[in-house]
């Protein structure tokens, strides 16, 4: 029992070690543009944690990344790579925006769940073709999902700019160019901020912070997926297939069915990624709708060790990085994109350090086995 704890601790510290390694490597780049890395990291911390509203921004930033990390982690668990989270969430957000503005006159308790469902369906729909092709034709899901990402970019562009563009906006052409965007979503589908709730506890958030109820929903979903994976028969099947496909088949599990269910569920969660921004911030979908959550989700899942509960702190870490990036750009003129480099380096260091750690633990075990 005691030995187990030691290994658990060793595994647990590997993400932290990876963060330090990535930060050290990024320092080289910061030094290259003649800035002081210590000052950069220090500014990131002070800017992020100095005030309550800044912490709320971090939580807002982390919200889509929790969904994204969960979507990627779930696909990893079943032994598949869902690199298509990016496209799935854009389609999901588009479907939600469509259901949000086109359906009118419903009470919020019907309209809001409907919009969320539309998003999940959109994401699942976009995951369908890759998994069907994987099973029927043996096409590797990595390439198909990436291709689906590019297809979704063009499709969304077409729908927003050519089909559903807000015509009333166009009339204002004389007053500067209109944003190419879809009509505004009905108030019955929007999600309220957490401001009034938090003010009960004496935390007063300013209006320019958009922290909304999708944050607690994301946390709830993470616990839900955790429960699904470790306490339900389906979750068991999913993990067995992910761990060893042949063994799963031998024990009477149909891996193909599990693949389909797991991948579609991953896509459905991916469909929810954009909702916090869409229903809690913009209120409409435009061509500049935030991109890149899908790829960051891969990093979040890896740092969270593909554990739904690990995804939460990992997403918070990235929320902090993005907030800190604004700080270093404003105060010391270091480009925000330093953080993207940091993210890439973090994935590499986390996977390398995990590998090294696994090997180290294996050697320790061997040694102990020999001694006893």
């Amino acid at each position: 029992m005691k030995k187990n704890l030691k290994y658990k601790i060793l595994e647990g510290i590997s993400p932290i070690a990876a963060m330090f390694l990535a930060a050290a490597l990024s320092s080289i780049i910061i030094l290259a543009i003649k800035k002081n890395p210590v000052e950069v990291y220090f500014t990131m911390f002070t800017f992020s944690f100095r005030r309550m509203d800044s912490i709320a921004v971090i939580l807002f930033n982390a919200t889509p990344l929790i969904f994204s990390g969960l979507a990627v982690a779930l696909s990893f668990r079943v032994g598949l790579f869902n690199i298509g989270v990016e496209g799935q969430y854009l389609i999901g957000a588009f479907m939600a925006a469509l259901a949000g503005f086109a359906v009118k006159g419903l009470p919020w308790f019907i309209h809001f769940p409907m919009v969320v469902l539309a998003a999940a369906c959109g994401g699942g729909l976009w995951a369908l073709l890759p998994i069907v092709l994987k099973i029927k034709r043996g096409v590797h899901e990595v390439i198909t999902t990436i291709m689906m990402n590019y297809i979704s970019f063009s499709l969304i562009h077409f729908f927003i700019a050519d089909i559903f563009m807000d015509k009333q906006q166009k009339m204002l052409m004389g007053l500067g160019s209109p944003i190419i965007r879809m009509p505004k979503i009905q108030p019955s589908a929007l999600i309220p901020g957490m401001h009034s709730f938090l003010s009960i506890f004496g935390i007063n958030l300013p209006k320019h912070v958009y922290l909304n109820w999708f944050f607690p929903l994301a946390i709830l979903l993470a616990f839900g997926i955790f429960y699904l994976l470790w306490f339900t028969p389906f979750g068991y099947e999913l993990r067995v297939v992910g761990h060893n496909r042949t063994a799963a088949k031998a024990s009477g599990i149909n891996p193909q069915k599990v693949y389909i269910k797991g991948f579609l569920l991953s896509g459905a969660i991916a469909g929810l990624i954009g909702l916090s921004d869409l229903l809690g911030y913009f209120g409409y979908m435009d061509l500049d709708f935030p991109k890149g959550y899908g790829f960051t989700g891969i990093a979040v899942a890896l740092i969270g060790k593909n554990n739904p509960l690990g995804v939460i702190p990992a997403a918070l870490l990235f929320g902090f990085l993005n907030r800190g990036a604004e700080g270093i750009q404003t105060f010391i003129g270091v480009p925000m994109d330093t953080v993207v480099i940091l993210q890439g380096l973090m994935i590499l260091s986390i996977v390398i350090i995990s590998e090294v750690m696994v090997r180290y633990i294996r050697n320790l075990e061997k040694k102990e086995a020999r001694l006893s």
């Binding site: 043996g138 990595v142 291709m147 077409f158 891969i298 480009p335 480099i341 993210q343 590499l348």
Partner: protein
Amino acid sequence: MIITEMLASAIRMGIPILLASLGAIYSERSGVVNIGLEGMMMTGAFWGALGAYFYGPFMGVILALIAGLLMALIHSIATVTFRVDHIVSGVALNILAYGSCRFLSIAIFKMATTSPHVERFRPVDIPVLKDITLLKPLVSGISPLIILAFLLVPLTCFILENTVFGLRLRSVGENPWAADSLGIKVLYMKYCGVLLSGLLAGLAGAYLAIEHTGMYVEGMTQGKGYIALAAMIVGNWSPIGALAAALIFGLAESLSFRVVEGGAIPYQFIKMIPYILTIVVLSGFVSKSTPPASVGIPYDRDSG
């Protein structure tokens, strides 16, 4: 005439896919999946434009090669030495490439998404052939990099099939344990495979930036690195096959430009064609092709 012009345009579009695809062949034949090609190509494009802007096209190519090589070095350290999952490492590399290109573009060009225009290579004519009217669009006024790419196809064939190096590279990709027992340095060969793919992806990026657009534009690779992987699979891991597949993708792209000029179909749908083609082609052909037996499996001497 129209046919040769179409072919010439297909070649221009297909060259970056061909180069990256040849690189993918070296990497996969040694057993390493290289999803990072996209990022390597993007880095190559950035450094190619940078070199060409400050020192002319030749230096652009040199810098692109070095940049591709360094990216490949990261991939090989992660996948070969540390046995990290090949796809995870490749995806990380692509994120790293995106971030570093954007960062450096701001730092050097003061613009996040584009570089200034750069000088191209002087176009060349192929002697003798250029006098044949029919072939004129194909052989006159073309980029020397196109000629280089075409020369690399038979060269790659020769290296893989007829040299000791090629034999060892392939054996490492088929059965590293057997290769190891014959005294072949498995890890060294895998490094060579990945590094060669980095060089070629860097060259593909240099072609894009210097010859194709004449500048670096963020996201200019547009998934060509992934399409190159598809071309390699369709071409059954052989250089000739990759050439044919790259030309098909090039043709699809050049056709799409013509359809856009027609204006009958919204251009967003035309832009999808290469990606849809990739999916269609993979789902139609992949069952016939045979990847190297141990591709994607990290080599661990103690297991297996």
